[in-house]
Amino acid sequence: MVDPSAWLDLLALPALQRALLAGLLTGALGGVLGSFAILRQLAFFSDALGHAALLGLTGGILLGVDPTLVLLPFAVLFAVGVHHLTRGSRLPTDALLNILYSSSLALAVLVLSRIRSYRGGIEQLLFGDILGVSWLDLGLILVLALAVLSYLLLTCRSQILLSLDEGLALSRGIAAERHRLTLLVVLAVVVAISIKAMGVLLISAFLVIPACSSRLVSRHFSHYVLLASLLGAGTAVMGLLVSGAFDLPSGPAVVVTQLLAFLVAVALAAMNRRLPAG
């Protein structure tokens, strides 16, 4: 057991406070955005983007600038590229994404292996370092969260119709192509901004797991989005506290917490299904 005064000492650390705030914000943001992304079947896209982002980070290291500066344009380019490639190609989308992300990943690792000073730092890139979040990063996440939230609120109805049936959406005059591209770019920006804290390997869990848990138990669209963001924020904070207290890596600790919440949702959904029948 950890004694309470140790917890308080931990919470007094500014780095941990920033980490908790960052976790709260990215968790909630990931939950909201993820609940739309999984309905539009973009879970794999966010995963691929996270992996490919390592190339962007490597570019930043090569140029000697803040990785976020390179990562943002890289992620947006990746999203625009994926949008056009998948529209123009006859290959299945998941196969194309696989080609794009594994080649980006391979290139990045090759380059990183040549930069001596970064050999040790690769783990940090892969799994993130939420304690390294600065006030500037935090401000960026806050602005981004507000922007994404207002975008999703304003286009909510179009997003629902698009995930339901594209023909029906088009017949109502919704510009499906433009919406898809915008959503891809928004996802890319969110992934780029939060990757520093979460790492390239686990970033997509923030988008996918809370949203899926919520999808299993919600019976109302607004409840679904709300619950996904609460789950995202809650599991992030809990995971971070556990990782701080037991000195565990933060990203994986959060993801395991999300997994536990997901398992609870699976059990609840199974119970709900049995009730009306029995």
């Binding site: 609120l153 029906l168 109502r172 919520s214 019976r219 679904y224």
Partner: protein
């Protein structure tokens, strides 16, 4: 704004280099019910989708309620909301957390950026009424993804009726329905059409139903082969031209001679 609800002139659609719809022209007068028939792959669904601006048009022009459809399928919102479309199937992704009443509300709202809670009360009233008109009130709290195909079709009608419309385009409304469910769906459609004053264009394979309920028929096989009153357009000679000589009318045509060349004995088909 004219009684001409829909005017299609010289409309062509090309898909992957092939002409799928070839110089089709017709028009629909207000409050008529017209069936679009033809063999599989004749371009019926494509024609309907082109009229709505879902698939791009390669030639000709479409006028909905007197307003020309733009080259990229644009239509003013005030016209767009008077036109409704029923897709062939609506298959929501598994366990989409969307309730029936939430879905019908999507049909009430105009498309465009708006906060989700705007005009909530007016919308709720309209949704309640639409569910009542389509006998869906009991389904209001169910998830769309939990419904049977027949229930889903009725909910789609509620989606159409939630706002006053002038033109309804149905793509094989009876696909996936058993005989009884198809009968009920058509009875509902027929009564709503009267009470709401809808003009209908429906893709159909059920020629018997077309004969009974529709005012006019368009026979399509890439180009328009014939059109007119069902009794004229669906006579055996015209059907043979449309579907080919091997086609056997499997519904009884009292008093009409069966095509001689049609080989397979009908017993084997049953």
């Amino acid at each position: 704004m004219a009684d001409r609800v829909l005017e299609v002139s010289d409309l062509s659609v090309r898909r992957q280099g092939a002409t799928v719809v070839d110089r089709v022209s017709f028009r629909l007068e207000a409050e008529t019910d017209t069936a679009l028939v033809g063999p599989n792959g004749a371009g019926k669904s494509t024609l309907v989708q082109a009229i709505l601006g879902i698939v791009p048009v390669s030639g000709g022009e479409v006028r909905l309620l007197g307003q020309r459809l733009g080259p990229a399928g644009q239509l003013p919102a005030a016209i767009r909301e008077q036109v409704a479309y029923l897709p062939q199937t609506l298959t929501p992704p598994g366990r989409l957390p969307l309730r029936v009443d939430e879905f019908v509300a999507l049909g009430w709202h105009r498309i465009g950026p708006a906060l989700p809670w705007r005009e909530r009360r007016a919308c709720r009233g309209a949704v309640g009424l639409a569910l009542e008109k389509t006998c869906c009130t009991a389904l209001a709290g169910r998830l769309l993804s939990e419904l049977s195909i027949g229930e889903r079709k009725r909910v789609l009608l509620a989606f159409c009726v939630v706002r006053p419309r002038r033109l309804l385009l149905l793509d094989e409304a009876q696909a996936g329905l058993d005989v009884r469910a198809a009968e009920q769906f058509h009875a509902l459609l027929f009564s709503l059409r009267r009470s709401e004053g809808w003009t209908i264009l429906q893709v159909s394979h059920d020629l018997e139903m077309v004969r009974r309920t529709c005012d006019a028929v368009l026979c399509l096989n890439r180009s328009l082969r014939c059109s007119g009153h069902p009794d004229h357009a669906l006579n055996p000679a015209q059907l043979e031209r449309l579907y080919g000589t091997a086609w056997v009318p499997y519904h009884h045509n009292h008093g009409l001679p069966q095509p001689q060349a049609a080989a397979p004995p009908t017993e084997r088909l049953i």
